[in-house]
């Protein structure tokens, strides 16, 4: 049935979709198109705050070879990795427990509902009052940003675990805690990894915004110091670097995810085109 539908759609697909048969071509075309648009618009308006792509892009190798900027980028990535790791350690067990216990869910759910709509960066000034402007407060903001999607997807994944799977394991003699680790965790893994992917993007966003508020080191620091100095081509070069960073992280993550949950039924897999 499904195969029939797919083949029919293919037969009726318009000519330009044949570009999809060459892997990697559409995203490259999109990038070139965006750069061209940027170049044209910047030259057309001639704004001081919008340098053309041809002026901004040459800044990228300069930033990437400059020792101080590299230290800034490394600082940012270190905080991002720490915040993400802490969120994983906290959110996955919490989400899995929520999915299996009504009491745990009833405890965490209202908390999450309250915290969810609050922009995490808006908490930054308050957190800075507690923890200062250093690594701790920035890492905490990243942690908060990543925790929510991660806890939510772990919860959904855990709740959706088929009861008969747990019963089969119970009949084999697995205790309740063993079932949580050895049955619920792997069964929910496809959904948890969906949360991780969203979390990765949010980690990048909260990382930059936290550095925008508490400027000291980091990628956000480079952007906003350059902005203050009016070095706009450097600002745009840095934005391109952040975009590229997000893209690379996502590609790496997706290839890892593909290998980890290759066993998942198609219904469990998410289809989001990246490359």
């Amino acid at each position: 049935m499904m195969a029939d539908i797919v083949s029919v759609e293919r037969a009726e697909a318009p000519w330009w979709s044949s570009a999809g048969t060459i892997p990697g071509l559409p995203p490259i075309m999109a990038c070139i198109g965006l750069l061209a648009l940027w170049e044209v618009v910047a030259r057309w308006y001639g704004l001081n705050g919008l340098p053309p792509a041809s002026a901004a892009l040459p800044q990228i190798p300069e930033i990437l070879t400059d020792k101080e900027s590299l230290i800034d980028i490394a600082d940012s990535l270190r905080r991002m990795v720490t915040g993400f790791a802490l969120a994983l350690i906290f959110a996955v067990p919490a989400g899995l427990a929520m999915g299996r216990s009504k009491h745990v869910a009833a405890f965490f759910n209202p908390l999450l509902m309250v915290i969810y709509p609050v922009p995490k960066a808006a908490l930054m000034p308050i957190i800075m009052l507690w923890l200062g402007v250093g690594d701790a407060s920035k890492t905490l903001v990243i942690f908060l940003g990543v925790t929510l999607p991660l806890i939510y997807h772990s919860y959904q994944g855990s709740r959706a675990v088929e009861e008969k799977l747990l019963w089969s394991a119970a009949a084999m003699g697995l205790s309740a805690p063993a079932r949580l680790i050895r049955i619920v965790l792997p069964a929910a893994l496809p959904e948890i990894l969906v949360g991780c992917r969203t979390g990765l993007v949010l980690a990048l966003i909260t990382m930059v915004t936290s550095e925008m508020i508490a400027r000291q080191t980091g990628i956000g620091n480079i952007i906003f110091v350059s902005l203050d100095l009016g070095v706009y081509d450097r600002v745009y070069a840095m934005i391109v670097i952040i975009g590229a960073l997000g893209f690379i992280l996502d590609v790496i993550f997706e290839s890892m995810r593909g290998r980890l949950v290759a066993w998942a039924e198609p219904s469990q897999a998410i289809v989001v085109g990246t490359t």
Partner: protein, 257 residues
């Protein structure tokens, strides 16, 4: 030996309403006996099986298996579900070995036993496949092998062939009977198919719905080993099927809530 003693089960459907799924069920199943529980959907037959498995707790009454009251699931009672319930992240071999690892069997011994079982359910060669790569019939074969692997005394089968097409279904019935006739485990088999119940069982327990009660228990006096093709022409088999179908028709239609 399973002894079900005056078991009732009430579900709370909402604050004020209670649904009596099982009312005062008593039944005993002898060691090595193949007993089917037959009834319309919603009569609580699966619930009764889950109570024997220890997966669901009864509201009153007791289930005693080999002199021990049932308080939870245990490896002496192996379930096989309509939904297969295979571990999707494990290969076919990994699924069959899961219970053996859990019981602490040495790796090479577990491997040998799993391979032997996969041969028995006619799936050798599929060791490294993942469940998603298998058809429904093959998945259920794996599930049966996985449960048989840890040697439960009792098999609890919950409409195991209900999700399969007619052809696969008869093939699996034949194979199950072949496997069972070799080592004669106690089997409690839930189904809504009259032919399936008569073909497989020593006794057929008929249930009515709302509340779930035992209506009648019919002993199936057909020689073993049974062969499907021969049975279909057997007058006594036909009489059993017709008689039981008639009794099923006497029941009022189940209200679907």
């Amino acid at each position: 030996m399973i002894s079900i003693d005056r078991v009732s089960k009430q579900f709370e459907t909402s604050r004020a309403r209670r649904h009596l799924a099982l009312s005062d069920i008593s039944l005993s199943v002898a060691r090595g006996e193949f007993v089917s529980i037959l009834g319309p959907s919603g009569c609580g037959k699966s619930t009764l099986l889950y109570i024997v498995g220890g997966f669901v707790e009864q509201s009153s009454g007791a289930v005693i298996v080999d002199d021990n009251p049932v308080t939870g699931p245990g490896p002496d009672r192996g379930p096989v579900f309509q939904e297969f319930a295979l571990f999707p992240w494990k290969t076919v071999l990994g699924n069959v070995m899961y219970g053996l690892d859990q019981r602490g069997m040495p790796k090479d011994e577990a491997l040998a036993r799993s391979r032997e079982l996969l041969t028995m359910v006619k799936l050798s060669g599929y060791e490294n496949f993942y469940p998603k790569e298998l058809s429904g019939g093959m998945k259920q074969r794996v599930a049966i092998a996985r449960t048989l692997a840890y040697r439960p005394n009792i098999l609890l089968m919950d409409e195991p062939f209900g999700a399969l097409d007619a052809h696969t279904r008869t093939k699996l019935q034949n194979d199950l009977l072949g496997i069972w006739e070799k080592d004669r485990k106690t089997v409690l088999f839930v189904t809504h198919s009259v032919e399936e119940a008569v073909f497989l069982s020593d006794r057929v327990v008929m249930m009515t719905s709302s509340p779930g009660r035992i209506k009648d228990i019919i002993k199936i006096n057909l020689p073993r080993p049974r062969e499907r093709a021969a049975l279909l022409l057997n007058r006594r088999y036909q009489d059993y099927v017709v008689e039981i179908e008639k009794m099923m028709d006497e029941q009022p239609e189940t209200r679907v809530s």
